[in-house]
Symmetry: C2
Subunit: 385 residues, 2 copies
Amino acid sequence: MTELAARLAAIEPFRVMALLARARELEAAGRSIVHMEIGEPDFESPAAVVAAGIDALQRGRTHYTPAAGLPALRESIASYYAHRYGVDVPPSRILITPGASGALLLAMAALINPGAKVMHTDPGYPCNRNFVRLFDAEPVSVRLDAADGFRLDVQRLREAWQPGIRVLILASPSNPTGAVLDAGTLREIAAFAHKRGATVIMDEIYHGLVYGEPAPTMLACTDEALVINSFSKYFGMTGWRLGWLVAPQAMIPGLDRLAQNIFLAAPTMAQYAACAVFKADTLAQLEERREVLRQRRDFLVPALRDIGFGIDADPQGAFYAYADCSHFSDDSQALCERLLEDVGVAITPGLDFGAHQASRFVRFAWTTGMAQLEEGVRRLREALS
Amino acid sequence: MTELAARLAAIEPFRVMALLARARELEAAGRSIVHMEIGEPDFESPAAVVAAGIDALQRGRTHYTPAAGLPALRESIASYYAHRYGVDVPPSRILITPGASGALLLAMAALINPGAKVMHTDPGYPCNRNFVRLFDAEPVSVRLDAADGFRLDVQRLREAWQPGIRVLILASPSNPTGAVLDAGTLREIAAFAHKRGATVIMDEIYHGLVYGEPAPTMLACTDEALVINSFSKYFGMTGWRLGWLVAPQAMIPGLDRLAQNIFLAAPTMAQYAACAVFKADTLAQLEERREVLRQRRDFLVPALRDIGFGIDADPQGAFYAYADCSHFSDDSQALCERLLEDVGVAITPGLDFGAHQASRFVRFAWTTGMAQLEEGVRRLREALS
């Protein structure tokens, strides 16, 4: 029997994977399933992106790029920051990565020593705490509550802080809550971390997907944070596996060395294709998609409240509602299983996002079309009333 | 100033990257450079692969696949093992990864605890020792010598072994030496490791690129090893970033969990495209390319010997010769710099592959066309005679 690394035991499976597998089983047996568990919208990649990908293949763009990515793509991202956010981020601070996952891996590898403490939000993106465990460090959580719209602030951070925390990882907009942090809060968090010698890793992969004021970027508040972004969500390029990392200039040589060793380079045709997302008509198409997602949110959230789910604040970004299901069950995992088996509705149990009140919450995703959402709501009403 | 993880200081830059950057500078200034430093052949991806990639994009295959990869691709690889090697590897033991890099990352993450010892060959693939450092473990080297054709055997392993070694990582064919291990040696190494409770990670990414007897796979010798392979080298798909990992069945759930967290999934269109490599006419085309590479080797190796480089045994696989340059210099790094500046020939210094006699060796790659190789040899003669 092969002796495994200790970290493997600490890395939990996602509960939703078992549910998804069961959903596929039921579908294979002829059952209809409404998928509100999947963190990937039903849209295809924008036509211009697909066309640019095909063009890259036809031109034989199938060789390695530099580890840091295509210079033209790094420049396009810099220019996007200038035009959309009014912040000056030189291309030299931008590294192209295989998905935001590659960016998270680089950031964590560069910052986390074994045994260090890393603060993350609970609830939060499930992979974060597992990346911390990958580097044999200790995840420490700061709890977020529905009553505050699941928004992190300095007061909460101060109360949960412990000596020895070296890194703080947070997201805006947030998965699973859709909470968006304002610029004042970002600045306060950056100053708080700076004072304690901790580095902020800021996950901005749902940027662009906001329904009120645009989400401010941490890059406008500090040059010391590492900011992760992705072509997957707003830009509609999930399967291409492409993201980026913005880091302090002084860290770039070390991060580039890590990238050369860990993944060599991001996929080449994806990098050429991504250059097309910044065209005016592609961006216009992405804004139309955001409107479609907003309409779905505006239908789903009130309907869920009407059924009896607790959603205190409207989710401001991403495509998720983190809903209190304690009116129906004190075991959200069991509720998810029951809803799948009884009425064919797939949602994600709170346990995937942390431990804090996890058995009271479930996540709904509006990543499927309106007709499916309406059918899902009808089935939920049938099962729960 | 951001506080960095200690491992970052231990991860060295590749010497060849500075040389490559200088070569690009010289080229931008109008100089002609013969590239014999690059580990990527000049061939484009096979036409059927490109066509399958385009088809996947046109069909909207731009969403995530399962973390373990497309079932059809896992089945194709299993069937390839059955037909090409006569070994029975069930698809359930095969995980599709973002490049062989993703497979190495999974394997190391699953096996290496901080502080553990991991044995690797010197010379060997430079990223191996850096992956060991990524997980805060200690690389321990076993030295290989030109007189033995740089082939590892159990005798050498026994002499270099230390208590506490948990993992042995080796490659056949080898980068940078082109050495191929026979089935008897693989079996002895597997038995040696098994007896000591160590796990073998076997890098087979240059499989298919052999010029004598086909290289045997470790999978024919033991079910306990982790075997890494890639669509990059033999299959001509470098920029697509696609590889695979074969692991013992009992490790698959843990590895799948790691994959879900670390990279979510390999690029989707690359996975669809890779299904086309196993077609008979694509395999025939790849065999023709192997013949082209053989002709390049058969020209280059004798020519280098004639100039005065020491290459004891003909490289049996990959597309590299690891050549003794002590006839010209006792500082291979300085020699590489001088050859680049003086006659525009780019090769890789031994230091990138380890410490053992590194200042006496350089690596030549026959990844460029015959005309370029002839020109390179002419320039080397001019500079060194």
